[in-house]
């Protein structure tokens, strides 16, 4: 079995999950705490990747991030590399898949924290930032971790969007899911079996841990 696609998948998934965690928690805070014009629209935009056909989503991303787009041109002039059809594209694809999972879990956990406890922190002299990092975030940590792990599992296995915006270039952007597809198409099943086993194990293992994390239990 060629390990390169798996290594690439892990690399892509780690970076995408890291980004999705930072961006996702920030968006969750925004959605959970403040009412602002356009909140519902933002919520729909973040969630849309969960239900949209990967080809459609991939098309929009190609338009938004392609080499002739503003973002694509800016990125290329800064880094000398294009976003699409590179590892960066694969990371973007994985990020877009992971983000809604992180945001949904994080928002629900943040909203689930008893407001009285947050007010108690404020009356005890903690400003909004200290209250958030010392009380709100720790109390929502389990749910956020669960979302992050789901996001990681999701980004490890992305297929459609990755194919659309990163392509399927062996040794460059060919992630494990793409390599499995190619191997099966070429009737080289034996090559795919190892990756299939590992991806299955990862998904099942992560779901098991997520269930443990989200099982009703008092924090402490």
């Amino acid at each position: 079995m060629d390990a390169a696609p798996l290594v690439l998948s892990l690399h892509v998934a780690f970076i995408a999950t890291l980004l999705a965690t930072v961006v996702g928690v920030a968006l969750a805070v925004l959605l959970a705490r403040r009412s602002f014009p356009g909140r519902d629209v933002l919520d729909v935009l973040i969630t849309a990747p969960m239900v949209m056909p990967p080809t459609v989503l991939g098309y929009y991303l190609l338009v938004a991030l392609g080499r002739r787009s503003f973002i694509g041109k800016t990125f290329e002039s800064l880094t000398g590399e294009s976003i699409v059809f590179t590892v960066t594209g694969a990371i973007v694809a994985a990020f877009v898949g992971a983000l809604p999972l992180v945001v949904k879990s994080a928002r629900a956990s943040l909203e689930g924290v008893d407001e009285t406890i947050l007010f108690a922190a404020r009356t005890l002299g903690a400003g909004p930032l200290r209250t958030f990092f010392m009380v709100h975030l720790p109390l929502a940590a389990r749910g956020i971790s669960a979302g992050v792990m789901l996001g990681f599992a999701r980004s490890l296995g992305d297929f459609g969007v990755t194919l659309m915006i990163a392509g399927d270039i062996p040794g460059e952007t060919q992630t494990a899911s793409l390599a499995i597809y190619d191997a099966i198409q070429a009737r080289r099943e034996s090559e795919a079996l190892g990756m299939i086993a590992i991806l299955t194990g990862a998904a099942v293992g992560i779901l098991y841990v997520v269930n443990k994390l989200t099982a009703r239990r008092d924090v402490g």
Binding site: I117, A120, G127
Partner: protein, 236 residues
């Protein structure tokens, strides 16, 4: 912060909260000096809302809240001191203890962070001891009984050296036998700090047991105010 270190500051609160449908949910003009004042009235009479306005948790439609010389809220001038800078010890009905921190962690949370950590912990332990909760220091709130949680909450309130103490239905978390004990703790607390302590209850017996001063509320208004014996009748 007020300049005088001696005589206790008085709390003055004037607030109107307009109901969405019209009419007033709350319409009060009250003053509280040192000692234990009890806001007494049926549920829904605006007692907790009054505490919320004082703490800065509830924003009244119009109102002015002052503590000594400090203006905490003045809707006419659009001025409001943030909750965290009012130094109010607020003991919530559900206590609001931090479930992820030990009793000691809960108590140190509100203490001056310029104090070295070791000193803070020593002082926090002393506060817990004082409220007979010293043995709970390392335990987390989910293991506390109602009375234990109440004592930790009081220790936490006391440790932050507040300018004002607010308690929302503090007796409701307590088993019958512990109420007199809690009243003693609270009275000692109020005497020691010599600051206004405002307590909300819907129970006449509780009000009578602990109040120096009573405000009787009904339908969002203060309908009577004065010494406990005069307002509630009977002897203490």
């Amino acid at each position: 912060m007020s300049a005088d270190g001696g005589a206790a500051d008085a709390l003055a609160v004037r607030a109107r909260v307009v109901r969405p449908g019209g009419g007033f949910e709350l319409d009060v003009d009250l003053t509280f000096g040192a000692g234990i004042s009890v806001i007494f009235g049926p549920s829904g009479s605006g007692k907790s809302t009054t505490l919320g306005v004082v703490a800065g948790i509830v924003k009244p439609t119009t109102g002015r809240v002052t503590m000594g010389a400090d203006v905490w809220l003045d809707t006419d001038r659009r001025a409001a001191v943030p909750i965290e800078r009012r130094r109010i010890a607020y003991v919530f009905q559900s206590l609001g203890l931090f479930p992820h921190l030990s009793a000691l962690g809960n108590v140190t949370f509100g203490m001056d962070r310029k104090t070295p950590a070791a000193e803070r912990e020593k002082k926090a332990q002393a506060c817990l001891d004082r409220f007979r909760a010293g043995h709970l220091a390392k335990r987390k709130p989910r293991t506390f009984s109602g009375g234990e949680g109440q004592r930790v909450a009081l220790a936490r309130a006391f440790a932050m050296t507040p300018r004002l103490v607010l308690l929302d239905e503090p007796f409701s978390a307590l088993e019958e036998g512990l109420r007199a004990e809690f009243a003693d703790d609270l009275r000692a607390f109020a005497r020691e700090l010599s600051i206004p302590v405002v307590l909300v209850t819907h129970d006449r017996g509780e009000a009578r047991a602990i109040a120096d001063h009573v405000v009787l509320m009904d339908k969002g208004r203060a309908v009577a105010s004065g010494p406990a014996s005069q307002i509630l009748g009977g002897s203490r």
